[in-house]
Symmetry: C2
Subunit: 405 residues, 2 copies
Amino acid sequence: MRFEENFATRVSRLKASEIRELLKLLDQPGILSFAGGIPDPALFPTQAFGQAFTDALEGNAQALQYSVSEGYLPLREWIVSEMARNGVTCSVDNIMITSGSQQALDYLGKLFLSPGDTALVGWPTYLGSLAAFNAYEPAFDQLSINGNRAAEDHQSKAAAAGGQVKFAYLSADFANPTGETVDRQGREGVLQLADALDCAVIEDAAYQSLRYDGAPVPPILALEQAQKGSIEACRTIYCGSFSKTLSPGLRVGWVVAATPVIKQLVLMKQAADLHSATINQMAIHRVAEGGFDAHVAGVRDVYRRRRDAMLQALDRFMPKGVRWTKPEGGMFVWVTLPAELDGADLLARSLETEKVAFVPGRAFFADGSGGNSIRLSFSCADETMIAEGMARLGRLITAAKVGQA
Amino acid sequence: MRFEENFATRVSRLKASEIRELLKLLDQPGILSFAGGIPDPALFPTQAFGQAFTDALEGNAQALQYSVSEGYLPLREWIVSEMARNGVTCSVDNIMITSGSQQALDYLGKLFLSPGDTALVGWPTYLGSLAAFNAYEPAFDQLSINGNRAAEDHQSKAAAAGGQVKFAYLSADFANPTGETVDRQGREGVLQLADALDCAVIEDAAYQSLRYDGAPVPPILALEQAQKGSIEACRTIYCGSFSKTLSPGLRVGWVVAATPVIKQLVLMKQAADLHSATINQMAIHRVAEGGFDAHVAGVRDVYRRRRDAMLQALDRFMPKGVRWTKPEGGMFVWVTLPAELDGADLLARSLETEKVAFVPGRAFFADGSGGNSIRLSFSCADETMIAEGMARLGRLITAAKVGQA
């Protein structure tokens, strides 16, 4: 059977992530890798999880049973308190547990996007958001945080693409891939734009807990609620995750939104995978209750030192004409190369000579631009590796500039 | 914001499951329930899972880390052996782990169905298959196992609906909701039809391990491979699950298919939820390795007794004009009432008088027919409850017949 001829039209939009293919190469020994954007497993609360799984199963076969699509109630209650600490007042009815925030992006694409509808995303944006939304065959348009494009401009572009603007997607804190944070004014600008477009805002808060310095900015959902009173009046849909704080492998995240959105997401989840794993929700709840803040503070201390080491080493080793972001948190530094250099070419060269790995920037752009950028992650390398890696990267870029000149 | 106006067109196809709404009512004390089609948690290998989670985490933070979308390799290797025992020769590249077989149905709908394409399903069929496929806006046409409809007939109907027949979906062993098994001839008929239509066959094997008597019939995929040699030449996509044997709450199932299908599913999963929970796959693997057959044999013994008790009690208590299936395995007996009775009316009456619960049959029919049928599950009731429940049901139906006459 030639399956290809039977696949749905959306399948033409699914493609192997260049990054994923690349990462396979980068796992070779001897390579100093700043490519993977994953947490350091040495920082997982492994012992606490051991206890939590044991406790969850102790005389409780329900930990292995089917459970409700909305998610484990005590965990949703814990999230209600956590959201309150972040300035969002909501109830358990505003929360659904997802299998990581990646699933929230998939479901929100499924909920809003008919083929030809438009999703506003950053240029660059989280690669996984493009992959998730692509399955629903949207057009992408560039979300401008600083409001230099009028709503009418977005609308006419969306109409030309055959649909309407359905949402603006952004990660406002230490975004993947740039590490940048949208300030309060920028967040309010996004809300204003969404009001004008009457579209949703998808706030991806995956990195929010990983702030190393600077004052926290309230989530977009908190700012909107401050304006409009009730979460039921809010268009912002907040996607949270335990992947960057407690464990990514358990696949537990959550969505906070007005109840009409949560109700549809629950129906969707029921039809798509019934519910997220019962015992994982119980274990996450136990570990979070047992000391979320203390654990995350420890994680932050380690990553803060790595970020500092990376920024210092970039200062020391990068040649003129190279710029990079100064993230206040998260896992990433975004490096903009001189316009004539290409991140993918640089990586190919690096694998031959300097053996330092990173992710070329183009894949993060919905329009395929951004060739002269690369993403560096500091989450999984210690300070010595970072210093050595940035020294190699500096040599590599210096040599590439000379080669180009 | 009026979210409703912004939802994708597919959302009109999502609806609250009547059954789910119903089940909320049926959880009241004093009700004898044969409604929920879930395993008895008393039969879960809870202790073995306790040990398996502890072992998986012992000095192994990778159990909490991101992992590959394909699934945990040792588990896929175990599945290769298990499939071989069922007559299917495949490699780990033919297998992807899913979050339960429900996720496999969602992904297969997503992979094959463009709006207006046709899915062939049984009349009745598993309710969750209709829910999963509905998100991709297909038409449904009735799959006739005994081949009394020609391929051309299906094709012209599919063309009229605006697409083509993309797959035939069926559960061939002790299907939910009927408990019936498709015999070898029926399976070969489905393959012949699929060959004529050049469409895929989705074989939902969720209940396959729960056979209580009678000779096993080879899976459709095994029959096809026997005809065509290699799994790469097969159009059948096999969906397996640990939900009915080890634990549903861990959400671990699998798909077996030709590599072009698996490759697309892996891309899809990567974009939709990255991977199924790492530690759950490890725990399932350890428990399965540690004694899958012995455990499942114990489960079968218990369910066999319950099935026997239900069939005996139905014989004893049902009035004339009522028919029911005699399942060789699984969890369900399907009862066909006299044509003038309606399962939903009967349930409403039951909640007032006899306090016995079951699922009205109409929801399992894509065309809304089947009103005079009900589904009974024997998996969660002991023999005494079953005898008492069937006595009440017999009185209820007898009274309803009199009322109708």
